[in-house]
Amino acid sequence: MKLFGTFDVRYTQCTAIFRTLTHKITFVVFLLVLCFLPLIAGEQLLSLLTHIAITSITVLGLMILVGYAGQISLGQSAFMAVGAYASGLLITLCGFPFLLALPCAGLAGGLAGLIFGIPSLRLKGFYLAMATLAASFIIPWLIVWVRPDITGGVYPGLTVPPPVIFGFTFNTETSMFYLVITITLIMIYLAKNITRTRIGRAFVAIRDNDLAAEVLGINIFKYKLMAFFICSVYAGISGALWGHWQRALNPEHFTLMDSVWYLGMVVVGGLGSIMGAVFGAAFIRILEYFVTAVAPILEGWLPEGLAGGYAIYIFVGLGALTFGMSMILFLIFQPRGINHAWRVFLASLRLHPFSD
C-alpha cells in the first residue's frame, strides 16, 4: 500500500524494489546505519547480527523453495555443510582465493541440492520431506567416512582460515560483520529479483497448482529442479560464510534439527515473502539469544531453596519451554508471519489517523 495519490500505472512500477523516494531514502539511511553501527555497537550485538545475516541467507534459499515454489526440503543444513566444506577445502587444499571459493561453494551446494531435488518430480508434501531428509544423513556420512583424510572427519575436523580479500584478512567481529552483511544484502537483492522474473512467476504458478502450471506451458521438471538448485546455492554460500566465521568445521555443525528450525523460520517470517525470510531468521535468533540470556537471570532472582533445590533444573528447562511456547503462540496469533504483521503495521501508519 502506498501513500494517497501514489498510483502504479505500469507493471514494472508495481514490482519495483524502490517504488517511492521515501523507499530510497529509507534504504540509504538503513545502509548508513549498518556502516556506522560497529562504531557504537559492541561485539555482542555485531556477532548476533552476523549470525542473523548468515541464517537469513539460508532461509532466503528455503523461502524461494518453500514459499515461492511450494516444495519442501529437510536437507538445508546438509547443503550448508557442502558449501562450508567446499569453500574450506578449495582454499586450504587448492589455494583458491575467497572470492572464487565462495561462488564455488554455492555451486557445490546447488549441485548437491539438484541431486536430492530429483525426487520432487514424483513426490510431494511429506513424501518429498522424507526424501530430502536423506540428505541430512547421507551428506554428513560422506563427510565423515569417504575421505576423512581430506575433510578431517569427526576427528580432527576441518580448520578453515578467515576470508582474505585483496590482502585484507577478515578475522575480527567487525570485519566479518561488514563482509557478511554485504553478501547478505547482495543475496537479498538477487532473491528479490528472482521472484520478480519469469522464473519467480513460474515458481508461484507451480506452488499454486502444478497441473494448471503445466497446462500453461511451464516446464515443471525444469522449474522444480531450478528451485532446489537456487535454494541450495543459498545454503552453500551461507555454509561457506559460517565456516569462515567459525574457522573450524565438523559435521556436528549441520544437524537435522537445524534444517527443521530453518523451515520454522520460513513459517514464522511469512511464506512467500523475501523479507519474511530475514524477519524469520532474526526472530528465531533473537528469541534464542533472549532465552539463553534471560533464563539464568530469572534463576538468579529466585530465592535460594524456594524451588526445593530444583530451581536450576526448572530454569534450564525454561529455555526449551519458552522456545516451544513462543512458537505455538506465534502460530496462533500471527499465522501469516511477521512480514504480514509488518505490512499491516506500515499500512496503518500510512493511513493514520483513518486506520484507528
Binding site: 561485539e43 556477532s47 575436523g157 573450524a248 539463553t292 533445590g309
Partner: protein
C-alpha cells in the same frame, strides 16, 4: 476502514511494537557495566549443554559450582572476594553455543575463563578461545580439544586419549599372552561424534599396537539414545572381541550391559568405558546387568567415604538425588581447581594484574592439588589431569580397582 480491518491494524501494530520492545529489552539486558571490574568478583562462566542429551550429568555440575563457591566465600579463602556463577544453556545446539560464547566474550569485564560442558562445543570453539585469550576449561577432554597443548586450553579430567592409553595398559597387563597365544582384541562401540571418538588419535592407536592390543576395525556406532545394540555386539563378537570399550554416558552403558547379558556374551566379553560412564545412576538403569562393568574414572564417587567434605557440602546444601550424577564430583574438582588457580594468580599478580595469562600459569603450577574429588596436576606440556583410576561395579557399587595412577601421556607432540 471496516471494523475487521481496524482490529487487524491495531493487532499488527501492537505486535510489531511488542517485537520492538522485546529487541530493546534484549539489547539493554546485554549491556553490562564495568562495575564488576572494580569489585573483587570472581565470576565462573559456565556454558554448554544443560538441557540436551548431556543435561543429566552437566546440570548437577552447576550445583557443585555453587556449593564450592559458597564454601570458599564462607571461609574467606580468597580475602574479600565475591563469587558469581553465570551460566547459559546451549541445549546441545552448536550455533547456540557459538552465540553464547560470543556473548560471554564481550561481557564487561572480559571473562578470563569459561567452563564448557560439551566436547563437541569445546572442539568447535577451541580456536576462538585461543584467539580471544580466554581459558577454555572443558568437561570433555577429547584429543581434538587437548592437542596440541594450548596455553588457554585445560581439561578437567584425564584426556580421553590418556584414559584410553591407561585402559590399554590395563588390558595388556591382565592378558596372559603365553597362555592365550594371541593378542587381546578390543572392539569399540561408541557415539560417532566428538565425545564418542574423543579417545581416537594416531598416538592412541600406535600405543595400542605397542602394547600388543588389537583394536577391531571398523568401530561400531550407535545413535544418541540407542534402545538396542545387539547388532553391533554380535559384529564385535564375530570379530573375536575380548573387550568392548565405549565413550558415552550411563544410559548407553546400561543398554549395552543389558544386551550383553541378553545375548549371553557378558561372560565372554568384558565391558569398559571412559570417564563419564561410571555414574551412580547405572545401578538404577542396568541393575545387576552392570555387574563387572569397568569405568576409567577421574573422580571420587558417591559410593566412597560419606564423611568427605564434599559429601558434607552436598548434604548441607540440600542437594537432590538427581544431583548425584557424575557431573557433581567432576565439577567439585573443576571449581576447586579454578578457584585455587585464582587464589594463586591473585597472590602472585594482585587483582589488578589478574588476566588469563596469569590464570593459565597458576593452573600450570598445580601439582597433586587436592581438589577434594581428584588430585590435579597440570604442567606446561600437559593441560589435562595426569592421574586417574579404574572403578568397577561390584554388588551395586562403584568400587576402585586401581589406585590413583599416572596415565601414559598420549600427547602426539
Amino acid at each position: 476502514m471496516g471494523k475487521k480491518s481496524k482490529a487487524l491494524a491495531t493487532k499488527s501494530r501492537n505486535f510489531v511494537l511488542f517485537l520492538a520492545v522485546a529487541v530493546m529489552i534484549i539489547l539493554s539486558a546485554s549491556y553490562e557495566t564495568a562495575q564488576a571490574a572494580k569489585d573483587k568478583v570472581i565470576t565462573i562462566y559456565a556454558a554448554g549443554d544443560y538441557s540436551g542429551p548431556y543435561g543429566g550429568i552437566t546440570t548437577p555440575g552447576m550445583a557443585a559450582h555453587r556449593d564450592v563457591m559458597k564454601y570458599w566465600k564462607k571461609n574467606n579463602l580468597i580475602p574479600g572476594a565475591k563469587y558469581k556463577l553465570k551460566w547459559a544453556d546451549s541445549g546441545g545446539i552448536l550455533s547456540r553455543a557459538t552465540s553464547i560464547f560470543r556473548r560471554f566474550k564481550s561481557s564487561k569485564p572480559k571473562p578470563l575463563l569459561i567452563v564448557v560442558a560439551q566436547t563437541g562445543e569445546a572442539e568447535a570453539l577451541r580456536h576462538l578461545f585461543e584467539e580471544s585469550k580466554i581459558i577454555l576449561f572443558t568437561w570433555g577432554a577429547s584429543a581434538k580439544v587437548c592437542y596440541p597443548v594450548g596455553k588457554y586450553i585445560f581439561g578437567n579430567m584425564a584426556s580421553y586419549p590418556d584414559q584410553f592409553g591407561f585402559f590399554m595398559d590395563y588390558v595388556s597387563k591382565n592378558w596372559d599372552y603365553a597362555k592365550m597365544g594371541r593378542n587381546p582384541k578390543v572392539g569399540i562401540l561408541t557415539w560417532d561424534n566428538g565425545f564418542g571418538r574423543g579417545f581416537e588419535s594416531d598416538a592412541t592407536m600406535a600405543y595400542a599396537a605397542k602394547k600388543k592390543v588389537d583394536i577391531i576395525k571398523p568401530f561400531q556406532f550407535a545413535s544418541t539414545a540407542p534402545i538396542d545394540v545387539s547388532t553391533q555386539l554380535l559384529v564385535l563378537n564375530k570379530a573375536g572381541a575380548d573387550w568392548v570399550f565405549s565413550s558415552w554416558l550411563a544410559p548407553q552403558v546400561a543398554t549395552t550391559c543389558k544386551d550383553l547379558a541378553r545375548l549371553g556374551l557378558n561372560k565372554k566379553i568384558k565391558y569398559a568405558g571412559s570417564c563419564p560412564t561410571g555414574d551412580v545412576f547405572l545401578k538404577r538403569l542396568a541393575g545387576k546387568n552392570a555387574e563387572g562393568f569397568i569405568s576409567l574414572h577421574s573422580f571420587a564417587t558417591f559410593d566412597e567415604n560419606p564423611n568427605a567434605l564434599w559429601r558434607k557440602l552436598f548434604k548441607e546444601n540440600n542437594r537432590k538425588p538427581e544431583d548425584m550424577a557424575y557431573g557433581y564430583p567432576q565439577m567439585v574438582t573443576g571449581t576447586m581447581t579454578i578457584l585455587e588457580a585464582y587464589r594463586r594468580a591473585i597472590k602472585k599478580v594482585g587483582w589488578e594484574g589478574l588476566n588469563s595469562d596469569a590464570l593459565s600459569e597458576a593452573l600450570e603450577s598445580l601439582k597433586d592439588f587436592d581438589a577434594w574429588t581428584s588430585p590435579v596436576t597440570y604442567s606446561p606440556t600437559r593441560h589435562s589431569h595426569n592421574k586417574l583410576r579404574m572403578v568397577q561395579w561390584q554388588n551395586g557399587k562403584l568400587v576402585p580397582i586401581t589406585d590413583w595412577t599416572e596415565a601414559p601421556d598420549m600427547n602426539p607432540k
